[in-house]
């Protein structure tokens, strides 16, 4: 606090590098910078996926509308709903309503855990069918004989990294909910920023991995 006041005295206006040129705290700015860099990580992965898909002779399109696409749509709805409850948690913390904040954050975590549970169920089904990062199921190879195993590699890499982010987010929100008394409004808001980012990434992963691989009947 004292350093801020001193800096403010030393440099007057924004243009001379005011104390808070963005009018946000340093923690929030740090989270924003992390989000930008992490967005580039996911962009790189999705671009790599698009590249290998465009340069492959054949690409499997194995997701039947029912049940696979419906299943992943439910997962999307879980994440969207949890994003909304997170907004409500931030709103409650602005009113200094600690109990409400905790309850909304727990609802958010529930949405995240539901997403994780559904996602792991889906992974298990695909792995049981014979999809791994290095192999395609024999049944798929009959349907798409020239397809490469890159489908499995990209699928597990991208959804796996996203799943890891969701898991991290659930733990992060858990810590905030546990120590909600010591958390300032801005701390809750920063947790919310991270959670919305996880949601945001899924908004690109879902169409590009699932919807574009919907099974097209012969």
């Amino acid at each position: 606090m004292s350093t801020e006041a001193h800096a403010e005295h030393l440099v007057g206006t924004d243009w001379e590098g005011g104390a808070l040129p963005y009018r946000v705290g340093h923690k929030k700015l740090g989270m924003w910078l992390f989000i930008v860099s992490d967005a580039l990580t996911f962009t790189a992965l999705l671009m790599g996926y698009s590249y290998v898909r465009a340069s492959s002779e054949q690409w499997p399109e194995p997701f039947h509308f029912y049940p696979s696409i419906i299943f992943s749509t439910v997962m999307t709805l879980c994440l969207l709903a949890s994003s909304f409850t997170m907004v409500m948690a931030v709103k409650a913390s602005a009113r200094k309503d600690r109990q409400g904040t905790r309850r909304w954050i727990l609802a958010t975590m529930l949405g995240g855990l539901l997403f994780l549970g559904l996602h792991i169920t889906e992974w298990k089904h695909l792995i049981d069918e014979g999809l791994t990062p290095k192999t395609l199921p024999a049944e798929w190879l009959r349907e798409w004989p020239n397809a490469t195993y890159l489908f499995g590699s990209t699928f597990f890499a991208i959804t796996g990294l996203h799943m890891f982010h969701v898991l991290t987010g659930v733990i992060y929100l858990g810590v905030i909910a546990l120590r909600v008394r010591r958390m300032s409004h801005e701390d809750v808001e920063i947790g919310g920023l991270y959670w919305h980012f996880v949601d945001l990434v899924w908004m690109f992963v879902f169409p590009m991995i699932y919807l574009l691989s919907v099974f097209r009947g012969k």
């Binding site: 030393l10 590249y51 340069s55 709103k91 690109f204 590009m208 574009l212």
Partner: protein, 204 residues
């Protein structure tokens, strides 16, 4: 003490002039390269030529932002715009924003609606290139809604938006430099069939 403050202020003003001059020179350089490419590329409507023009144009524009803002701040555009800029120190308090539940519910409704449209496209089995275009467009709208309202970047200061978003967009655009290769690389593979036979072979 006041002399120290004054000298620091003078120094920072000199620094501003130098940095803005460098930015201006580099911006002009990039615009020059973009304009030069228009002239030298020969066939202008190719992926590579368009890419170079767009990237150089964007880099030039980004480098131009700082000098233009600086000139605006120092009143060089005052006659054009006719507004007075306050140079007095302002209070440095973080911006606080609290939206209404109704606003957030309507944003959630939009997000759900757009998601359902995307799923409907998969159900209708729209041709894949058209589907990709529509999906990316809708996803960008959804991303913008989430960033603007849920992450309430719309209600932050413009300086934060300008620091975060253009850099991200430019970096993402730079990724596209790989894409012209993805279509060509099929033909470079060992044992690959020449491009002319590719289409016939893939048909049955």
């Amino acid at each position: 003490m006041s002399r120290l403050v004054d000298s620091i202020r003078n120094l920072s003003q000199k620094e501003d002039v130098i940095i803005n001059a460098i930015c201006l020179v580099m911006a002009l350089l990039f615009f020059g390269l973009a304009a030069g490419n228009l002239k030298w590329a020969g066939d202008f409507l190719t992926t590579d030529a368009l890419f170079v023009v767009v990237v150089f144009g964007m880099l030039g524009t980004v480098l131009l932002i700082s000098p233009v803002l600086w000139l605006y701040k120092h009143g060089y555009f005052a006659k054009l715009v006719g507004s007075h800029i306050d140079t007095e120190p302002v209070e440095m308090v973080p911006v606080h924003f609290e939206g209404t539940t109704k606003l957030f519910l309507s944003i959630l409704g939009w997000l759900l609606g757009l998601t359902l449209i995307e799923v409907l496209l998969a159900y209708k089995q729209v041709p894949i290139v058209l589907m990709l275009t529509i999906l990316i467009g809708l996803s960008l709208i959804k991303a913008a809604l989430i960033i603007a309202y849920f992450m309430h970047l719309k209600f932050e200061r413009l300086s934060l938006v300008l620091s975060l978003i253009p850099a991200l967009v430019i970096c993402i655009c730079l990724f596209f430099i790989f894409f012209p290769d993805s279509a060509r690389s099929k033909n470079y593979r060992y044992g690959a069939t020449p491009a002319t036979e590719q289409g016939q072979k893939a048909e049955p």
